[in-house]
């Protein structure tokens, strides 16, 4: 997975973008936490082999949340609206979007990949490649390649064959040797640092804007 710090930064940026009138410290904190939740499947991987980037990094968790949310809010006597009003509904929808886009989506667009159809399929998928216009070669596109079978290039192994090391579970399998070297990655590359810095700057900017709009 990309570092949790970067995932949270993207979640915060999405929160800044989408919370609108529901933007405040509380909703922003909730959104930041939601962005980090999928990375908890690393803890599960201590009990279930290969759960990292699979057990919570799939489309079914946000899909189920979205369906439940839709079913509740379209009713006349919606539980969520009765309890938290318009604010609660907005924050809930943004949280679902952040889970799917920042929490799961970011891993999908990364070589570390996510098993987005787990547990239906335990294959790690990733969308990496390029889209370039060239005067010599025309349009070069390698994000989605149709190999033998389908989408051959995007597969990155299965939860059985590949272990994604994390600081929680650095070694393959469910064993957890106490002496293992553990690394908490914070920022992997320059663009991630730019994203983190942007999120750090966007939050005070958004608060300033919110004061003005009121």
């Amino acid at each position: 997975m990309p570092p949790t710090l970067v995932t949270v930064a993207v979640g915060v940026l999405l929160g800044v973008a989408l919370l609108g009138a529901a933007f405040d410290c509380r909703s922003l904190a909730l959104v930041a936490v939601v962005a980090a939740v999928p990375d908890l499947d690393a803890v599960l991987s201590l009990f279930v082999r290969g759960a990292t980037n699979a057990a919570l990094h799939n489309v079914f968790v946000p899909l189920a949340a979205a369906v439940a949310l839709y079913a509740d809010t379209r009713r006349e006597e919606s539980w969520l609206r009765a309890r938290h009003g318009w604010y609660g509904v907005r924050v809930a929808w943004v949280a679902v979007a952040v889970y799917a886009v920042a929490g799961v989506g970011m891993d999908l667009f990364n070589v570390e990949s996510a098993a987005v159809f787990y547990p239906v399929s335990n294959r790690y998928l990733s969308v990496v490649g390029k889209l370039v216009l060239s005067t010599q070669e025309g349009v070069v596109q390698t994000y989605v390649e149709l190999g033998d079978g389908w989408l051959a290039a995007v597969s990155q192994g299965t939860t059985e064959s590949r272990h994604i090391p994390t600081w929680v579970n650095p070694t393959p399998g469910t064993s957890n040797p106490p002496g293992a070297d553990r690394t908490v990655r914070l920022v992997d590359s320059g663009w991630q640092l730019v994203v983190v810095a942007t999120a750090a700057a966007a939050v005070p900017a958004r608060f300033a804007v919110a004061r003005r709009d009121r």
Partner: protein, 225 residues
């Protein structure tokens, strides 16, 4: 440069929240114009050696612009506010934010980086490195490396060449000597205009579009708030 498409995607994500009620097609078009204009230093590259990523890709220009905007918008009889209202003031500030973070910030990481303090200091900086906490090494960061030995202290913040010896490739001028005429040799020059390279660039584009689309679907808050 990461392509203007990537800049625009990231900028859209930022603009949706910061423009707030002023977010509409016109404001978005203005921001995209602000993202495209700095690429004009590509054209200056034909006459001024190394102008691309120097002339309009630096931090001094936005710093000066910020001071000018601040003075222009806080005065009682602000010209900008009188002419374009609160909306104009907001768009100008968001444009500056987007230019610094979505354009200069992302370019800082790409290829030879950007000439951050041009024209005061002519030096390209490239942002590269990583940061992690490990049980063996503690907190490690390699973005800015400080090494001290007998010869003194050396700071490596990714600085590279100057405008004299650095050319950041771009589709208009793929190599330093091709100039306007393209190739003189046998092989035609391959001009490549990247749209998105690697997963994260496509991800930023899609996330920006998604945020803008989601914004149009959102319901207005009830009146009593």
């Amino acid at each position: 440069m990461p392509s203007s498409v990537v800049h625009a995607g990231f900028a859209l994500l930022l603009a949706v929240g910061l423009l707030g009620p002023y977010f509409d097609r016109r404001a978005a078009a203005a921001l995209i114009a602000v993202l495209l204009v700095p690429e004009a230093d590509t054209l200056a590259g034909f006459v001024l050696d190394g102008a691309h990523r120097s002339l309009l890709h630096n931090l001094l220009l936005p710093a000066v612009a910020a001071v000018v905007f601040y003075r222009a918008t806080t005065r009682e009889e602000s010209w900008l506010r009188r002419r374009f209202g609160d909306r104009g003031v907001r768009v100008v500030w968001v444009a500056l934010f987007v230019h610094v973070f979505a354009h200069v910030g992302l370019d800082w990481y790409h290829l030879d980086g950007v000439n951050l303090f041009y024209p005061a200091v002519d030096r390209f900086f490239e942002l590269s490195g990583e940061m992690y906490l490990s049980t063996g090494d503690g907190l490690v960061q390699t973005f800015v490396e400080v090494t001290a030995d007998e010869g003194g202290t050396a700071v490596d913040a990714g600085q590279g060449g100057t405008t004299d010896d650095t050319h950041v490739a771009n589709p208009a001028q793929p190599t330093e000597d091709t100039g306007t005429g393209g190739s003189s040799g046998a092989d035609p020059v391959d001009r490549r205009a990247p749209i998105a390279v690697r997963g994260w660039q496509l991800y930023l584009v899609l996330t920006g579009l998604l945020a803008a689309a989601a914004r149009t679907l959102q319901s207005a808050p009830p009146e009593d708030r």
